[in-house]
Amino acid sequence: MSKNNFLYISTICLYHEDARDAQVFDLLIPYLQNNFPGISVEERGHFWSVIPLGTGQRDAEVERIARRISGSKVRNLQEPVTSFEALSGEVAYEAKRLQDPRIHSFGILYDGFIFQSILREFFPEEDLELSKVHIIYTHRLLGTWDKNECRYHARVSIYGFPSVLSLSGLVEAPAKPREYYFLRQRIGIQAADHLGMMRLRENLRGKFLVHGDVRLPEAAKGYALQAIFYQLTGDPFCSDPYCRLYNAHWQEELIRAQLESPYELCPNHQRILDLLGRRMKKILREEENEPIGDGP
């Protein structure tokens, strides 16, 4: 049995961008350890502190990264992100955010693939292995450009190397119940006021996730599975609406797949998970039997 075979991962590395997102890991780590026995699950902490930001020129490096992140902001939902000179205030905000994981503000839409490519360049060589799954949790809202509709769509996740999962995206990306939009339109743009929004949420209690929702960590579990399946098989999604891998476009679908489903994975994906477990056990046994040292 070779480690290079299909269906092999050795390590799942988890990072967060905002300190409060680390709470997600309290549920997620035992969940992943249980589902992927034999695979190491590492909590690597604040992404920007784990990844070296240059030596001796930290301030300049922080500003360079901040400028690149500012450049990934979506300026116009109807236009793909193009080169745009960031304002000094934007760069200053991003620089502060890189260095202070307590900053937890949300609402800006970033181009998900550009943001992912910025993250990618900070992985050290020893982490550039397909046997390692890197998942970064963020509060940034990420979007991808839809060529057919010629507009941006908010996304929960951007899968690849690394995979980026947005907790704001869990709230904002899957569409809320239709009544939400009708009611909000009736109240008008001023619905952004606290009392108006509270009434709206009260009327539709539980039907969609909200910022700070206690259900977010549980919902985030399934998206970690999707990231891992993407790396294992190239396909993160499942057509079964009750499977954790279901690609939810509506909050109702997200809640059904992630919070209310009678099972975790559909039989097909559960089989893949079991197969992976068996292969991992075999690889571990082989490793245990390997002679120590360089041999005779």
Binding site: L87, G89, E90, G107, V171, Q190, A192, D193
Partner: protein, 264 residues
């Protein structure tokens, strides 16, 4: 029968108005800080800076001050703030109730009038019915004042009025003109800056974003309040007064640091 009021003639009343307006106006042709827009963030910034001893002039295009702080959403005159912004209500002695933990509700007229009074008590001077026409730029395109005109003049066709505006100068200028971001737009007209417009409107936005982005956007110009959202392309927000008050306070702090570092 004895008269209640002293026997002052119309001409004395007119002289009093003209003389006092002229005296104050002449004094404030040059000030430390000019704030354009007398909404909650502008009033808060003005109050804070005046308390620190700066000479502050607020320019307001309407007759009334307070901007949208008189009413909350949907024309209902209750204003809400989220913790920790209730401490500003405490500071201004504005009565409020805790609607749910962390959310506080006050009467709009009471809150707004108290804020206006606090700014005036601190020493802020106001020219109302006065509209921004342009910016005064100095070496290196540093913002060093504003060009203004009477609001009614700007409302009339130029061929009828033909009234030139006048300039007021200051060490720093604050843009608190709300979603219009009038001063930032003037910089944009000159090609000195490119604003971002509004972010995604369906998205719920963190109030922190406005406060976090409050700051000097161009040498000499600090942007606060809702003008921040237009400048940086943040999601358009409703009446989030906590962020407005906090942004005003942060803007004042930034202006103070800039002036202090330059020896003022």
């Amino acid at each position: 029968m004895e008269k209640i009021f002293s026997p002052i003639g119309e001409k004395d009343v007119t002289r009093a108005i003209v003389a006092e307006f002229s005296r104050q106006f002449q004094e404030y042709v040059e000030s430390d800080v000019i704030i354009i827009g007398a909404g909650p963030s502008g009033l808060m910034a003005g109050k804070e800076l005046s308390r620190q001893g700066y000479k502050v002039l607020i320019v307001e295009q309407n007759n009334y001050l307070g901007g949208g702080f008189w009413i909350g959403g949907y024309l209902m005159n209750k204003v809400t703030v989220r913790a920790p912004a209730q401490k500003f209500l405490d500071e201004l002695a504005i009565p409020y109730t805790e609607y749910i933990p962390g959310l506080y509700v006050a009467d709009g007229p009471h809150a707004c009038s108290k804020l206006i009074a606090a700014a005036c008590d601190a020493g802020v001077k106001v020219v109302n019915m006065t509209k921004l026409d342009d910016l005064v730029l100095r070496e290196g395109n540093r913002v060093a004042g504003v060009v203004v005109n009477w609001t009614p003049i700007t409302a009339l066709p130029r061929e009828i009025t033909c009234v030139d505006p006048i300039a007021l100068v200051s060490k720093m200028v604050i843009d608190s003109t709300g979603h219009d971001a009038c001063l930032v737009k003037k910089l944009e007209e000159r090609g000195l800056i490119r604003t971002k417009g509004f972010g995604a409107m369906w998205v719920e936005s963190s109030e922190d974003l406005v406060v976090e982005h409050t700051g000097e956007v161009h040498p000499g110009l600090v942007v606060i309040g809702m003008a921040v959202t237009t400048t940086y392309g943040l999601p358009r927000m409703g009446p989030t007064f906590g962020a407005m008050l906090l942004s005003g306070k942060k803007g004042a702090q930034i202006v103070h640091e800039k002036l202090a570092s330059s020896g003022h």
